[in-house]
């Protein structure tokens, strides 16, 4: 298949988008007075604004293209990443963890680790997060450039440098608020630009039932084939899904990854901050109607030999990540193609902007201010934040070029999450809910979790370790190994932290007020009608989650 061709109107739509996001940056620059304005968007956002930004920061290129392509390989199992692999964790964050985060007036997750434990734990997390963020950002850039090279014939270097320059410009100007504004605009563009693909695909194939009925049993259910790893394409059992994805990876990502939690910190009140991930959970649950439906349509059309995926430029094999662009080419006439490409660009840039804004905050607050200038004033920190944004963008570009060496990008990213987020979730959980957890235990537990996760990854990659030992199954898939590795890393960190805590001295209670359950004033939900309370809204979200899982069982 040849590359997509764009008309003048398509180019006009893409140009309008670029002008608009840069324009927003210029418009917001005049509202950036203090470090709170730049790094926390002035803490003035409503729960809806913060909630959409929360889910949009996660809506990068990997989400959209990766999982649409992933659906062609794994089928309905991909929905686990949107439902059990996200919603319980988002609700838990809003209901139980946000009060500790928001009330302690911290600027970042490492900031909480400083208050709860000590400086070295904070620095450990700050450095690991900063490295992870730059790597993610670079991989995001690389994948974007590769897709546009394959689909549109755009030069890799031009794509990388132009998109990075635009992101760097609007975040340098407007800080986190700029990122949040554009994330929300991007959220709307993604829905308007890509949901139509699913609608037209369903019409084309005669309805959703027709698509589902044609799927092989290995791909058609969420749980019906999860009893045996060999019975589904992901090669994982329900236990691996629940423990590895639903518990460790999901909670590790959604409750401790600063990139996301930073959006909730921008909310105007504790109530709005708690509702941020809860509102976001509804949007997250809806995304399979773009991603998974799109992937199933592509699978069906490929099965009927009506579409052909584009080849991967490195391997020459059909590349699943091109499924969505191929569907755009099939269904979208001129004009709509511009909208579809803009939506993809927006998806790439939303994820990218999230990485850059989180990186500049953690670097400025948790590394620069700690190690280089403890008494920096507001103006100095904002200046450092702006410089860090530019540096972060350059590091991302360097990483993008380095990432060209890797062929299995998605598995690589899952591995990064396992190294950093999975053990961190054990540390945060114990830190927030067990006051006996000590600072040395948190530090060494975290080290043990990260080192063990990395060792398992290397051990499996170079065949020094039998992955069947970790996954309880013969010949597990890479995905299954990732899920189980996350579980073991979490467990090692958890056990190490508990054991070391029992032999070391805890902080006195008065130093833990506001940081640990039992020593923090309980959040009262009075003053709201019952349907406005976070607890009630979370129950609705949970009920919808259960219904979706049963319906697509």
């Amino acid at each position: 298949m040849e590359t997509l061709s764009l008309t003048l109107l398509d180019w006009l739509i893409i140009t309008v988008y670029f002008i608009f996001v840069v324009g927003i940056g210029y418009y917001l620059k005049r509202f950036m007075g203090t470090k709170e304005d730049f790094f926390e968007a002035g803490r003035r956002n409503s729960a809806w604004v913060a909630g959409i930004a929360f889910v949009s920061a996660n809506l990068g290129s990997l989400e959209i293209l990766g999982w649409t392509g992933g659906t062609m390989k794994y089928g309905m199992f991909v929905s686990h990443f949107y439902w059990i692999g996200a919603i319980p964790a988002m609700l838990f964050l809003g209901l139980y963890m946000m009060p500790f985060y928001y009330s302690s007036k911290i600027h970042s997750i490492p900031g909480y680790l400083l208050l709860r434990f000590d400086e070295k734990t904070r620095l450990l997390n700050a450095f690991s997060f900063a490295i992870m963020t730059v790597l993610m950002s670079g991989i995001n850039l690389y994948l974007m450039a590769l897709v546009f090279y394959v689909v549109l014939g755009w030069d890799l270097n031009v794509s990388i440098w132009i998109s990075a320059a635009v992101i760097g410009l609007y975040i340098t100007l407007g800080g986190l608020l700029s990122a949040i504004f554009t994330e929300i605009v991007q959220f709307f563009l993604i829905w308007f630009g890509l949901f139509l693909v699913s609608i037209l695909g369903i019409i084309d194939l005669g309805g959703l039932d027709s698509i589902m009925s044609g799927l092989p049993e290995r791909m058609s259910g969420l749980w019906s084939t999860a009893g045996n790893a060999a019975a589904n394409e992901m090669g994982v059992t329900w236990l691996g899904i629940v423990l590895g994805l639903g518990f460790v990876l999901s909670f590790g990502y959604w409750t401790t990854d600063f990139l996301l939690v930073q959006r909730a910190f921008s909310a105007k009140s504790l109530d709005a901050a708690r509702k941020t991930p809860i509102f976001a959970s509804f949007f997250k649950m809806a995304l399979p109607f773009i991603v998974v439906v799109g992937g199933l349509v592509a699978w069906k059309l490929q099965d009927m030999e009506q579409i052909q995926l584009l080849p991967h430029p490195m391997t020459g094999e059909p590349w699943n990540d091109t499924a969505l662009p191929v569907l755009i080419a099939r269904y979208f006439p001129a004009g709509l193609i511009g909208l579809g490409i803009t939506a993809l660009l927006a998806g790439f840039m939303a994820g990218q902007a999230g990485n850059v804004s989180a990186f500049n905050t953690v670097w400025t607050y948790d590394i620069y201010r700690v190690l280089f200038k403890k008494n920096a004033d507001d103006a100095h920190l904002v200046k450092v934040g702006r410089i860090t944004t530019v540096v972060g963008v350059f590091l991302s570009i360097l990483t993008a070029y380095a990432a060209m060496q890797f062929s299995t990008i998605m598995d690589y990213i899952q591995a990064i999450f396992s190294w950093v987020n999975a053990p961190l979730f054990a540390t945060m959980l114990l830190g927030m809910f067990w006051k006996r957890t000590t600072s040395p235990a948190a530090f060494w537990g975290l080290i043990a979790g990260m080192v063990s996760s990395f060792s398992m990854f290397i051990g499996i990659k170079f065949a020094w370790l039998n992955p069947g030992l970790l996954t309880f199954s013969q010949n597990p898939s890479d995905m299954s190994s990732n899920l189980w590795r996350a579980w073991w890393a979490w467990l090692i960190c958890f056990v190490m932290t508990v054991v070391i805590s029992l032999f070391t001295k805890p902080k006195p209670d008065n130093e833990l007020v506001g940081l640990v359950k039992g020593l923090t004033k309980e959040v009262k939900e009075e003053g709201h009608r019952f349907y406005q309370r976070p607890g009630f809204i979370a129950i609705i979200a949970f009920i919808i989650l259960v219904i979706l899982n049963i319906y697509f069982w």
Partner: protein, 74 residues
Amino acid sequence: MVEKATGLKTIWFFVGIVLLVMGGLVFLSGIINLINPPMKKTVLFELYPAIWWGGLMMVMGVIYLLTNKNKVVE
């Protein structure tokens, strides 16, 4: 402390602008395709998706614009 402006427009206002402008361009492309159909048609071209989808975006854009044109963030 750096001097900063007040009267920040709500994000929904900007969402309205984007939907209206982009929806307008998509709608326009649909009208052009209706008047002057391309040689190579896409699947389901006969549904003219650009017209109704672009129209829907414009309606949404107008609603967001009108309901938020005077609102500012405190």
